[in-house]
C-alpha cells in the first residue's frame, strides 16, 4: 500500500484529507508542521505528500526545499493544498519542486484528479450522470 504524508496544522483538514486518501487506498501519516514532517521523511520517505503552505514552526514551502535536498528526496510526489491560491504562490511552489497544487476548498474529486495527474493513482472512475 502506498503512503501519503498529510501535513497541515488544522486537525480538521488532516481528518478530511485522511478520509479522502484512505478511500484512494493510501496509508496515512500525519504531521502538524513542516519540521515534524521533515523528521518523518528522514526516517522514511512517503510516496506522496499533501502539503499545507502556512504552518507554525516550518511552513510548507520551506519543508519542500528541505525535502528535495534529502537523499532520494526528489522521489515523493508533493501536492500543495492551501488557501494561497494566487498565481505567484503557485509558480513559486512549482519552481521549488511541487508536482501539483490544490487550492482550498477541495473535495474528493479534486484530490483524486490531482493524484491521478501525477501518476499516484490510476484512471479515475467515470463520473456518474
Amino acid at each position: 500500500m502506498r503512503t501519503c504524508l498529510v501535513v497541515d496544522d488544522s486537525s480538521v483538514i488532516r481528518k478530511v484529507a485522511r478520509r479522502i486518501l484512505e478511500g484512494l487506498d493510501f496509508q496515512i501519516v500525519e504531521a502538524e508542521d513542516g519540521e515534524k514532517a521533515l523528521e518523518i521523511c528522514k526516517r522514511g520517505l512517503p510516496d506522496a505528500v499533501l502539503l499545507d503552505w502556512n504552518m507554525p514552526v516550518m511552513d510548507g514551502y520551506e519543508f519542500l526545499g528541505n525535502l528535495r535536498r534529502l537523499p532520494g528526496g526528489d522521489q515523493p510526489k508533493v501536492v500543495f493544498c492551501t488557501t494561497e491560491n494566487d498565481i505567484d504562490h503557485i509558480s513559486r511552489a512549482l519552481h521549488a519542486g511541487a508536482n501539483e497544487y490544490i487550492m482550498k476548498p477541495f473535495d474528493k474529486d479534486i484530490v483524486a484528479a490531482k493524484f491521478q495527474q501525477v501518476g499516484l493513482i490510476d484512471q479515475m472512475q467515470p463520473a456518474s450522470t
Binding site: 494566487d86 503557485i90 484512471q123 467515470p126 463520473a127
Partner: protein, 291 residues
C-alpha cells in the same frame, strides 16, 4: 410527477434531442426541470408540461438544454488525451505533411473543457506544427453551454478537475477565484450550435472526431444513424474517439477499433463515402503521403 407527464417529457426529449430516458428517470427530470419550472413561475412539472403542450419553442429549447447539459472537465478520463498526443497527432502530422492542415471536431463540446484541452495539447506540440493550420470545431446542442465555452471562464473548482497545474499557470489568467483561458487558446476553437440528430455534413470533413459521452444517451437506432453519418464526414485515415462507456462494436461496420488503444476507432473503409467527401473539400493528397 404523474406517469402521463413523464411519458410526454420522454417523447418530447427523444424527438428534439434523441435523449433516450429509461422508464425510471423521474428523479433526473425533477432535479433538472423543477428549477426551470420555478424560474418560469410554474408550480410543478405538471404545469411545465401544460406549457410545453402549448408549443412554445423557447420553453422546449430550455427543457432540452436543461436535460442534455452534462458534466465535463479538463482532460476528462486522461487516456483519450494520451492517445491524442502519442498516437493520433504523430500519425496525422506524418499523413498531412503536404497539406499541413488538421481538422478536429468535438461533437459534444459542452462548456469547452474538451476542445480547450485539445487546443492546449496542440499548442504544446508547436515545435512540430510550425506553419500548420489546426482547426478545432466545438459543437453542442445547447446555446447556453456554447456561450460559456466561448467565454472560457471557469471557477476554481472547474480548473482543478483534470487540468495539470502547469497548464493552469501557462494558459489561464486569474481574476480572484475566476480563471479565464487565454485569448490565443480561445481563438483556436470555433463554436457552432448543432443537434447531432440533424444533418452535420455542412461542417466539412474531419481528420479527428471526439464524440464522447453523448451517444450513451441515444437509443441503438439513433447511434447507428450517427455512426453512419460520422463516417461520411471523416477522412479514410481519420480517428474517432468515443467515451469510456461507448463502442461501435455490434452497432456499425463503418468504424473498427484501433488495436490496443481503448476508445479509439478508425473508419473501416466500408462506408465508402469518406474519400469522395474529402476530395470535394481538399486537394487530393497522393496515397503515399499518408504513409
Amino acid at each position: 410527477m404523474n406517469q402521463l407527464d413523464y411519458e410526454y417529457l420522454r417523447k418530447l426529449l427523444k424527438d428534439h434531442s434523441g435523449l433516450d430516458l429509461s422508464a425510471d428517470k423521474q428523479y433526473l427530470i425533477e432535479s433538472r426541470l423543477l428549477p426551470l419550472a420555478r424560474k418560469a413561475s410554474l408550480a410543478d412539472i405538471g404545469e411545465l408540461v401544460q406549457k410545453l403542450k402549448g408549443g412554445s419553442s423557447i420553453i422546449i429549447r430550455q427543457v432540452v438544454e436543461a436535460m442534455t447539459t452534462n458534466e465535463t472537465f479538463f482532460f476528462r478520463d486522461k487516456v483519450p488525451f494520451d492517445h491524442f498526443r502519442e498516437s493520433i497527432m504523430p500519425e496525422m502530422i506524418k499523413a498531412r505533411a503536404n497539406r499541413k492542415n488538421i481538422r478536429i471536431w468535438c461533437a459534444a463540446g459542452s462548456t469547452g473543457q474538451e476542445p480547450y484541452s485539445l487546443a492546449m495539447c496542440v499548442r504544446e506540440m508547436n515545435a512540430a506544427l510550425g506553419g500548420w493550420r489546426v482547426e478545432i470545431v466545438a459543437t453542442d446542442i445547447s446555446q447556453e453551454v456554447l456561450e460559456k465555452s466561448k467565454a472560457g471562464i471557469y471557477s476554481q473548482f472547474e480548473v482543478q478537475r483534470g487540468l495539470p497545474i502547469q497548464m493552469l499557470v501557462k494558459y489561464f489568467k486569474q481574476n480572484g477565484e475566476i480563471w479565464q483561458i487565454n485569448p490565443d487558446i480561445r481563438a483556436m476553437v470555433q463554436h457552432k450550435q448543432l443537434n447531432l440528430l440533424h444533418d452535420f455534413s455542412q461542417l466539412g470533413v474531419f481528420d479527428i472526431i471526439f464524440c464522447r459521452n453523448v451517444l450513451i444517451y441515444f437509443d441503438q437506432e439513433t447511434k447507428i444513424g450517427i455512426f453512419g453519418r460520422l463516417a461520411k464526414i471523416m477522412e479514410p485515415d481519420g480517428f474517432l474517439v468515443l467515451g469510456a462507456a461507448e463502442t461501435v462494436v455490434g452497432l456499425t461496420e463503418a468504424f473498427k477499433p484501433f488495436p490496443d488503444r481503448r476508445g479509439l476507432y478508425r473508419p473501416s473503409g466500408t462506408a465508402g463515402v469518406a474519400g469522395k467527401a474529402g476530395a470535394m473539400t481538399w486537394p487530393k493528397v497522393p496515397a503515399i503521403a499518408r504513409l
